[in-house]
């Protein structure tokens, strides 16, 4: 009966191990804390995250967080093995989440049961235009100089004012999602809709000469330095200079603003999925949302967030205001990105 004895011994030792494990659990947990690998932004956002919010999360969930701030995130995720991804949670803009979904490196659908706070978000944050959940949004509209005798722009068409030749600013469309949003908006206001690319190309060509930059921070500086008088920018890029006496302001065109969402999603190969979900839920907590909102002027997704009056007046945090946000159809856009890139590059060159 060797087999029997063996199994009995196995059972005994398994039991002992289980008992030991229970007793020693906290110690073991402490000894090998799980690591959550995430991406996050730099700047003031990064300061608050690394200085306050992530340490608090680590303490509460007894884990360590490794936060990557070095762009570009998606190529790194793409180059890492699917079963052992370089990130557990991907934080990036909506368009890149759609790219990531195509590449199979993020989940198609989050398990909402694991994110209790998702019950309190505005519908746009989990709409069919979002892969994952949007934790914040900013609004893409027009930034302009208030000291150049310009009227406050009321329409996207104001950017085409001939007086702005060479003094208007846009983005390098292949690399910047604000530029891509603007292109779709051009189709809407000059053509049959957001997908009317022919109208959009024509309208874009009419904007020449235009100064193009590759990231929003640079547009901020061009506006501040007077190198452009009016440019496409997100509200947060202008609002953050409030109280600094800068002659710049943000205008919401009558045709609406485009949403620039900050989206979180989980990677399928993550080995710490529970923690990944806990992190997403944490980022949606009202106090966490308020802290970040008031740091970088992003509009919070959680309806329960109560912002200080200064922020409350400007950010998109009521049902009525949120209704002004237009969410781009990135699935549609990304499917045509290569063709659009080539066309736009050719069009703007020379």
């Amino acid at each position: 009966m060797t087999a029997n004895r063996l199994t009995r011994r196995a059972a005994l030792s398994a039991g002992a191990a289980a008992a030991l494990a229970t007793v020693g659990a906290p110690a073991i947990l402490h000894a090998q804390t799980a690591t959550l690998k995430i991406t996050t932004w730099g700047g003031k956002w990064g300061e608050i995250m690394k200085g306050e919010l992530l340490p608090a999360f680590e303490k509460e969930f007894k884990c360590t967080v490794s936060a990557d701030q070095a762009f570009p995130f998606v190529p790194k995720l793409q180059a890492s093995p699917k079963s052992n991804p370089v990130y557990d949670v991907l934080h990036t803009n909506s368009n890149e989440q759609w790219n990531s979904l195509d590449l199979g490196v993020v989940e198609a659908k989050l398990d909402h049961k694991k994110i209790p706070n998702i019950a309190d978000v505005y519908p746009y944050a989990i709409s069919d235009k979002i892969v994952g959940v949007s934790i914040f949004t900013s609004a893409i509209g027009l930034g302009y100089r208030t000291d150049k005798g310009l009227k406050k722009p009321t329409s996207w068409k104001d950017l085409a004012d001939p007086a702005l030749a060479g003094m208007r600013g846009g983005y390098i469309i292949p690399v910047n999602s604000l530029g891509q949003c603007h292109l779709m908006m051009l189709g809407k206001i000059y053509g049959k809709g957001f997908t009317d690319l022919d109208a959009a190309y024509k309208a874009l060509e009419a904007l020449k000469p235009i100064k193009l930059v590759d990231f929003t921070g640079q547009m901020e500086k061009m506006l501040l330095a007077g190198e452009v008088s009016m440019g496409i920018i997100h509200d947060s890029g202008v609002l953050r200079y409030e109280g600094q006496n800068q002659p710049v302001d943000f205008a919401i065109p009558s045709e609406g603003v485009m949403a620039l969402e900050q989206v979180l999603n989980v990677t399928p190969g993550s080995k710490v999925k529970e923690l990944a979900y806990a992190y997403i839920d944490y980022m949606l907590r009202p106090d966490v949302q308020k802290r970040l909102s008031e740091t970088v002027w992003y509009s919070p997704s959680n309806k329960k967030v109560k912002l200080d009056p200064k922020y409350d007046a400007k950010l998109f945090n009521t049902e009525a205001k949120v209704a002004q946000l237009i969410q781009p159809d990135w699935k549609w856009y990304n499917a045509r990105k290569e063709e659009i890139d080539t066309r736009v590059t050719r069009l703007l060159k020379g």
Binding site: P72, V74, Q78, A79, K82, N176, D214, E227, T345, K349
Partner: protein
């Protein structure tokens, strides 16, 4: 005769062959480093460029030439390749013209302090950080920049000169970044040329210019070749500067590669563009080395 001697020496171990000196072994560490950490990773990229997807993510991939067909099928990409090479050549020539006089001065200056100051002036631009340096150039060249503001203020021009958002601005900023490489390479070589040779030529009645053209310049050719190659290689692979300085008017292969990697996530096409750029530049460099060997004899490898 040649084949006979080859037949005789062939069975001997490599190092014992009279044609290869034991010093050849010194290539080992570099070769090892390059094969493991450059050839191998780059081969992975090259393989990706002929596959339909990334096998690390999706096992169902097949061989395809579509990334290369895409390059061949659109003159936009030819133009980009040509712009890349043109910017590389212009930048190299300009760096040589700007760098030579300075290198000459640095090599000939007598005072130790003067040399240290010159060295600092030459090295400082390299230390500014690529992006900050480019922003500084933007501040100088843009429409509201230092030059245009000054010229308009003086009433010399009415509209800002187009100094930026074009190839001119790109080349100016590239020359600034890469001139130190030219200067330091040249200084080492010019410094080794015996000043007495020039002096002798002048004693024989040659003018200063002629002494320079007939003595110093030919002797500094290895430095010119080495510096030019460095600057050429660097400027054809630059992307931050053309990106920020060129605006919509400049499109180079490295810019396209950057776009493909960072926002189209098309590693296959990025790999294909990389393979094409590297192949074309290797051909240019090997041809250049060939021409150069004519100048400086079979030993000339600079």
């Amino acid at each position: 005769m040649a084949s006979l001697s080859e037949a005789v020496t062939l069975p001997l171990p490599r190092s014992a062959r009279p044609s290869v000196s034991p010093m050849a072994w010194l290539v080992g560490p570099a070769l090892l480093l390059f094969v493991i950490f450059f050839v191998l990773p780059f081969a992975v990229m090259a393989v990706l460029s002929i596959l339909s997807g990334n096998p690390a993510q999706n096992p169902n991939v097949y061989l395809t030439a579509r990334h290369y067909q895409r390059f061949l099928g659109d003159d936009l990409y030819y133009d980009a390749l040509w712009s890349t090479l043109r910017i590389g050549i212009v930048t190299t020539l300009a760096s040589l013209l700007v760098g030579y006089p300075l290198a000459h001065w640095m090599a000939r200056i007598k005072s130790r302090l003067g040399h240290a100051l010159l060295l600092m002036a030459v090295i400082a631009p390299m230390l500014t950080g690529i992006v900050v340096r480019t922003f500084a150039w933007m501040t100088i060249l843009q429409d509201k920049g230092v030059i245009n503001t000054t010229l308009i203020g003086l009433g010399l021009i009415e509209k800002p000169l187009p100094l930026m958002y074009n190839e001119f601005g790109t080349v100016v900023a590239l020359v600034h970044i890469y001139v130190p490489f030219m200067v330091l390479t040249l200084t080492g070589v010019i410094g080794r040329i015996d000043e007495r040779l020039e002096q002798a030529a002048r004693n024989l009645g040659a003018s200063r210019l002629r002494a320079f053209l007939e003595v110093t310049l030919p002797l500094s050719l290895p430095g010119i070749f080495a510096g030019s190659l460095l600057v050429f290689a660097l400027s054809i692979s630059a992307y931050v500067t053309p990106f920020l300085m060129g605006g919509t008017n400049v499109l180079t292969l490295p810019m396209l590669i950057y776009q493909q990697v960072s926002s189209s996530f098309n590693l296959g096409f990025a790999g294909a563009l990389g393979v094409i750029l590297l192949a074309v530049s290797l051909v240019v460099v090997i041809a250049y080395n060939h021409v150069l060997a004519r100048f400086s004899g079979p030993e000339g490898l600079t």
